[in-house]
Symmetry: D2
Subunit: 284 residues, 4 copies
């Protein structure tokens, strides 16, 4: 089994950053497996992902933070360290449409997604059978106008109980409150069934059909307090024609949604996504 560490860094761009990081890792005999970097010249930002083998790495990982802190401070770095052996814990929120849920669970089972999935949360009973089949706990919390606050309080308790790192909204049809999303910054991924920023909001397939577009899309993004406006992780499109009814768009869209959402989740879990401003860098 893979035993690697991944460092995600963003900081003001300056000379010597690559050398500083490479020298630090070399000091402890790191075998660098992947390194990818990006400078945003307009923003004056340096962003990097670097992954190395922990076999043969001579720095005890419990001492990493202390050892790396001087460099990080000197360069004003935001940084995160991720270990391949510490799996992220993922909760899937779902309503009635189960195609993204089934897809994520199957990918998880076949090993495409390196994570634990301790919990599926829904506002309906419909998907319980699927959850049972994959051996994942299934909690139902009904949400309506009157109980929303209370429902979210219970949801947040469940997130805490299950120590959830990442929430995936797999066609979950309730809008989360600002309080909720603020508690999970860049840790809630949604799939929106349009090519954002076109057709944000409700019923995108109906509106795409009405407008007569020749392609439909899907967009996975981090959820922020502005609906359908968070940093985009991935998008894709598929061709349609005048012959396609709304029902056809919905069917073709399901394939897009599955693929676009699963890519975003996988990249997040592999620590390939860095958010800056309202954008993402995906170190693919």
């Amino acid at each position: 089994m893979k035993n690697t560490a991944t460092l995600l860094i963003s900081c003001p761009d300056r000379r010597g950053l690559v050398a500083a990081i490479a020298n630090f890792l070399l000091t402890y005999n790191a075998n660098i497996l992947h390194a990818d970097q990006y400078q945003d010249d307009d923003a004056g930002l340096f962003l990097m992902r670097i992954e190395w083998d922990l076999n043969g790495f001579t720095l005890d990982m419990s001492a990493f933070e202390a050892a790396f802190a001087p460099i990080a401070e000197r360069c004003s770095m935001n940084w995160q360290l991720k270990r391949s052996t510490e799996k992220s814990r993922l909760a899937i929120f779902v309503s009635k449409y189960d195609h993204c849920l089934v897809d994520l669970l199957h990918r998880w089972q076949t090993g495409e997604l390196g994570c634990d999935i301790p919990l599926i949360l829904s506002n309906h009973e419909d998907c319980r059978r699927v959850a049972d089949f994959y051996g994942v706990a299934y909690e139902v919390i009904s949400v309506n106008k009157d109980n929303k606050q209370k429902a979210e309080a219970r949801q947040r308790e469940l997130m805490a109980e299950h120590r959830i790192d990442l929430i995936v909204l797999a066609r979950y049809m309730q809008v989360l409150s600002h309080e909720f999303t603020a508690a999970f910054p860049n840790r809630v991924i949604n799939i929106h069934h349009s090519f954002l920023p076109a057709f944000d909001g409700a019923k995108p397939y109906h509106r795409a059909h009405e407008r007569g577009v020749k392609l439909i899309g899907a967009t996975s993004h981090y959820v922020t307090e502005v609906l359908d406006d968070g940093p985009i992780i991935e998008q894709d499109v598929t061709r349609i024609s005048h012959r396609d009814t709304v029902e056809h768009l919905i069917r073709k869209g399901r394939d897009l949604e599955r693929i676009v959402l699963s890519r975003a989740v996988r990249w997040h879990l592999d620590h390939r996504v860095l958010v800056y401003g309202n954008k993402t860098v995906v170190f693919e």
Copy 2:
């Protein structure tokens, strides 16, 4: 050389339409080469494109209208008849960016576009050399706030003089007045450098970059009085990443614009496009 006739029909849907049209053509010994139809159930509309060989067709084409009129009236048809030997006459409007212009002219020269191109019209001198190379007349009409009405009057004179059937806005940077576009209904094709309805209006590549989308697009559409809102003929997209600057988007976009615009123009010239409501049917 091909000698065919193409009938484009739209009418309320009812039983017997295909039989009526097929029988009419068979009466005159038509060899049908292509037939394609589409019913819009919501709108209750029947739309059809049918092309047949004029070799062996026993109805004199000058008598077609009189012969077909009874059927057309009985079925409340909107219909157009096009003959492959009567080439459409196309005017290209261009400003300074010449990539779509050069592309269209090269396709025309290689026989991809079955049309005559008697005129290129611009608000700048820049593209005259290209026009000369391809042997097309090049007229410059400067447009500014003060002379717009007069400029358009002159443009319309030129359209009349050259008996223009179709105007192609090949990155022409002036907005045409409602009066102008109303004079050429479904006969002005524009290329917009975004995936409409996203990023309509000015500077779409800049706004795409700012929003952090993962694909950029281009859209060809008929021009109506609402900017960037006419019936869409064709769209396509290409993948970008965080590494792509606005300049990269502009470069990648040029390839999209060329291909999306040229497809729309070719389909229009081949009488494959039917507009209904604010949509198109493309009988590809």
Copy 3:
């Protein structure tokens, strides 16, 4: 529920075919919902798909063949009549990889595939749990060099028992004998994990990796007696880079295989595919 009939016709091209068919249907008051036709000029062939509503159709369907026979004979037609209410019966063959199986079963459950699936047949036990979840019978027939003939005999018995119309090889890792495939002409659909004709035969992802291609593909086709050479129904590709290992190709390929196979199966079930020579017409 939809109650339609679909006629698939191929015959030598000649004048009057459309009129003959349209008139026949109009005689019985057919409301034509879709009609699509294609002429192969080189082969001199006319191919057509026509679907009409059976509500209001005045010819009793049990009398269709007798009524249509004179036209069919006069025009030397090959024709098939399909009714939407008579669902095809599908058997899925699978080995150990379950991604196509799970995908097809989920699509079936959500109503994307208008068929019955009475049987899953495998040479391994691995996928039984999935079959049970979807409530489909699961039969295991081990196949090896020594028992192949006997195994196929048993398979054919099962096909007969379950009155199977279409066999889908969902990454089934055994090559079927000529006798077997000859018994199901154009009724066995396979998914091959390459862009045929490139990388036919074994280990296509490994060979694609070795060759350094920049795209990988998948191909669904009818099975004939020549391996990976039958009429192609659908193909698609996805982009890869030098960074992708064989394992990555296998993962990315799974998404392709699912989509390409499911499209082919859906088109077949909707009677949209006509085979002629070693090619297909897909009336999409």
Copy 4:
């Protein structure tokens, strides 16, 4: 104007390579603009592209080789140094089809391709007008069975006279001899009008049509002594249907060929392509 240096390196993989290179550059105060690396674990190879600003770089470039040699030797590096101010000199070989030629020249004129194009070489007169329009010398050397050796000798003279760095075969219909291609290793780029390895050799569009594929492709690759077998730089595909005749494939293919060839040429000119074995790494 950009004033940068780019280092392309390949060497056996080992610890400390990134640090060694980064430290070397930092010693001379390099501002790294882009760095991208790749390890091929199977081959045990490390490949890197690193580009830095020469403004502020304190090592005189004439002394670079001497200064870098110790590191290069210690690590058994193959390396090339490229300066953005030293434009590659490109010769385009063309026969009668001019679509790739026109495309490359237009891109060159608009600044997409950072190179000089001193020469167009053809075995026909047809494209002279285009060459004249863009102000590029046009040399015609007829090639036939009898004079091939002599013709190539003259071609090589012209390459030498014009100090050509890169030869682009823009649908040049003559096969170059082994001697010729051996003289320009990884410096001759061809466009083949199929998705290699499918349909290598002659008439790929005809063969694609005959096989009934649902997508056609184009491949740009370095020319080696085995026909259509060199390292692939870029590939792309476009969808076709049963309706597309060979002529349609040829038309659709022209768009593919233009785009796939121009990408390969641009990447090569931007020093983004490293060949290893029979593959390429494209540091895009």
